[in-house]
């Protein structure tokens, strides 16, 4: 039995309550076994800090991001309009999500279709919880002094200029943040964006995630941190390709923080 408290929007609404923030879990966070762990880490943090949040649960639908990137604007807009009806029905004002693709779509592409929300990435929310004293880290936990490199998700970094929040969190762990040669605006994609996650790559001489994992390995990290479930998959596969999975962990920033706060 899980000890997580995960109220749904429908439950809250029925009891006449309004959450402060909606946690948009996303398809990956809901269905992918690895990404579910990230989702739970986020919920642990939200529960610990007594954040009044809710999820849409079965009322949540794909944002339509992969459809839009694949060129199917019809499917995208159908998804968007349905989601906006649900979100506006619950009078949602603020959304947090652990997926940069959902983050980008909700934040940038929903407003023109009638969905106006304040949308933040989970690293920004956690940063805020720490800065306002709601979340205390117990001296960095198991990651103290460890070498951690951060892989910038394209849809968080270049697409939305969020570079600092995840890095500040890693520094809060008392860990040694080592940048890859290609980082921040210059960061290399993991290979999953633009609907590539769902198809074989075109013919080339290398997989993009292998190229990116090589960048990460050059920093000789103990942890490769990221803030996107798709990047996580790609980097995990890359680390396995080099048979380094016993030495190097690929973790989401939320997992690092939940661990350091002993949640």
């Amino acid at each position: 039995m899980s000890t997580l408290k995960v109220p749904t929007m429908a439950e809250m609404f029925a009891s006449g309550e309004t959450p402060d923030i909606l946690f948009w879990v996303g398809c990956s966070g809901s269905f992918d076994d690895r990404a579910k762990k990230i989702t739970k880490a986020v919920v642990k943090i939200l529960n610990h800090c007594n954040v009044k949040f809710a999820v849409l649960g079965t009322e949540e639908n794909c944002t339509g991001d992969p459809a839009k990137r694949a060129g199917n604007e019809f499917t995208f807009q159908m998804q968007a309009m349905m989601n906006i009806q649900v979100l506006n029905g619950y009078e949602v004002k603020k959304i947090v999500t652990a997926c940069p693709h959902c983050f980008n779509t909700l934040k940038n592409e929903y407003p023109e279709l009638g969905g106006n929300y304040e949308v933040i990435h989970h690293t920004q929310l956690i940063q805020d919880l720490i800065n306002t004293g709601k979340l205390a880290l117990k001296g960095g936990g198991t990651f103290k002094g460890k070498k951690i490199t951060f892989h910038d998700p394209c849809y968080l970094g270049r697409a939305n200029d969020v570079y600092d929040a995840p890095r500040e969190l890693i520094e809060k762990l008392d860990a040694e943040l080592i940048e890859m040669k290609r980082c921040k605006t210059n960061g290399l994609c993991c290979g999953a964006g633009g609907a590539q996650m769902f198809k074989e790559a075109e013919k080339g001489n290398k997989e993009v995630n292998i190229e990116r994992t090589e960048d990460a390995l050059q920093t000789q990290p103990e942890v490769i941190a990221t803030g996107c479930p798709f990047c996580n998959t790609m980097m995990t596969d890359g680390v396995k390709h080099f048979e380094k999975e016993n030495e190097i962990k690929v973790l989401d920033v939320a997992e690092l923080i939940a661990n350091a706060a002993e949640l």
Binding site: Q79, E109, T185, E202, V208
Partner: protein, 439 residues
């Protein structure tokens, strides 16, 4: 007098032909679809000043940025000297502004000389990076043939131009003392040394000739360069300014919203819509979804194509290209421009509705290239003049998917899953919250 007439004719023909070609380019760009970029003008000016005038984005690669800056500043400042050349040419005078400007004139010419020397050095380094060091991004497949020749020709023209400036000033310096018989000098910082050491002891007649060769050579190169521009990749020296002014100012992750689709989707989701109602009268010409040819792209995409100077920063940062895929964002821009020139010429020759049976997608850009993109925005980030190859790639995908239903089979499955299950994978929507109760 003859020389004044020749100069006036050259000036008229040189600028006239350039204006004629510039109008052609303008009409080609306007073949693109409408896009409103008339908003946020103060932000646009700021972007243009930082990115085009200040070359902010060049400096992510400091060495080429510095070399490029040398040529750029020399080019801009030398235009001041051009004012005098035109004045001299039209009046038959010689160094028209020297007397009235006095010491400032000497300073300006000396300043121009220093910049010209810097530009000359930079040009040689650029030539060797391209031809001797063979930098990967300057030697890729899409540059074979004309683009490579084009790039070298521009650099050679630069060398000829600077040589002319120094021949003119150097010969003039020696002439001054040769004609007066006294050791006089204009005091031009470089040619007062270079002149005597190269042309010292030469008779006055030959020196006059050398000075004239330098003068005419300079102005002829300027006219040649001006009229070469519309045929070369080098238009960025002018178009960088409008192109950065009309930049996309939204977050890079925001893809354009297709309003034609919004209208249909809204209707589909409207419970009060009458399914048997007669369709609304179509307004305007029906547009295809996405882009098959250059005329389906926006005018900004087309301006982007003309602004590209083929530096390849986009391609060298493209994850698909780095890992050996066919996609090269630079090639997307080059193909768009080449096709646009072809379409524009066809229209001027054969009328507005002429079809040559070719299209950007298929004849220039292959589907394989279009599908290799990860939409990571690295190309957009890297471009020193804010070109957006990604928006062209996305519009080509939109055409393939929405008009022809052509896409990699796995994507068909993904899209079906989204439509049926609300997720890109085949999971039941009812299981979406199961994670909350799993250990």
């Amino acid at each position: 007098m003859v020389s004044i007439v020749i100069f006036a004719l050259l000036l008229t023909a040189g600028t006239g032909f350039f204006v004629f070609n510039a109008m052609k380019i303008r009409s080609n760009i306007l073949l693109g679809r409408d896009l409103d970029r008339s908003d946020r003008s103060s932000e646009r000016w700021k972007t243009m000043i930082l990115v085009a005038l200040g070359q902010k984005k060049m400096f992510s690669r400091p060495l080429p940025a510095l070399l490029h800056l040398l040529i750029y500043v020399a080019f801009v400042i030398t235009q001041i000297e051009l004012i005098e050349i035109v004045a001299d040419g039209l009046t038959g005078g010689h160094r028209t502004f020297r007397e009235s400007l006095g010491g400032f004139y000497t300073f300006m010419i000396s300043f121009i000389e220093i910049l010209s020397l810097g530009a000359l050095i930079a040009t040689f380094i650029f030539l060797s990076r391209r031809n001797l060091l063979k930098l990967p991004r300057l030697n890729m497949a899409e540059l074979k043939g004309w683009p490579m020749k084009d790039a070298n020709l521009i650099l050679i023209m630069e060398i000829v131009l600077v040589t002319c400036i120094f021949t003119m000033n150097g010969a003039d310096e020696v002439l001054l003392s040769a004609e007066t018989g006294e050791p006089l000098s204009y005091g031009f910082l470089i040619s007062s040394i270079l002149g005597p050491s190269m042309f010292g002891g030469i008779d006055a007649h030959t020196l006059h000739l050398l000075e004239q060769i330098g003068w005419w050579g300079h102005i002829l190169m300027v006219f040649a360069f001006l009229n070469y521009l519309p045929y070369s990749k080098h238009l960025h020296i002018l178009l960088a300014f409008p192109n950065t002014y009309y930049s996309n100012l939204n977050q890079k992750g925001k893809f354009s919203n297709m309003e034609s689709v919004t209208a249909e989707v809204t209707l589909m989701l409207d419970p009060n819509a009458d399914p048997y109602a007669a369709p609304a009268e179509p307004t305007g010409e029906p547009q295809r979804f996405g882009a098959k040819d250059v005329t389906d792209l926006t005018w900004k995409n087309l301006l982007d194509a003309y602004s590209c100077t083929e530096c390849g920063r986009c391609t060298s940062s493209c994850p698909a290209n780095i890992t050996g895929k066919k996609l090269s964002p630079r090639k997307i821009m080059m193909d768009t421009r080449d096709r646009l020139v072809e379409v524009g010429d066809n229209i001027r020759k054969n009328g507005k509705d002429y079809q040559d049976g070719k299209s950007l997608l298929g004849d220039y850009i292959s589907e394989e290239e279009v599908w290799a993109c990860t939409s990571c925005n690295a190309c957009v980030q890297e471009c020193p003049v804010n070109i957006d190859p990604l928006s062209i790639i996305v519009d080509l995908r939109r055409y393939l998917v929405m008009e022809e239903s052509k896409m990699p089979t796995e994507l068909t499955g993904m899209l079906t899953n989204i439509e049926n299950n609300g997720a890109p994978w085949q999971f039941s929507p009812n299981d979406r919250l199961n994670w909350a109760n799993e250990d």
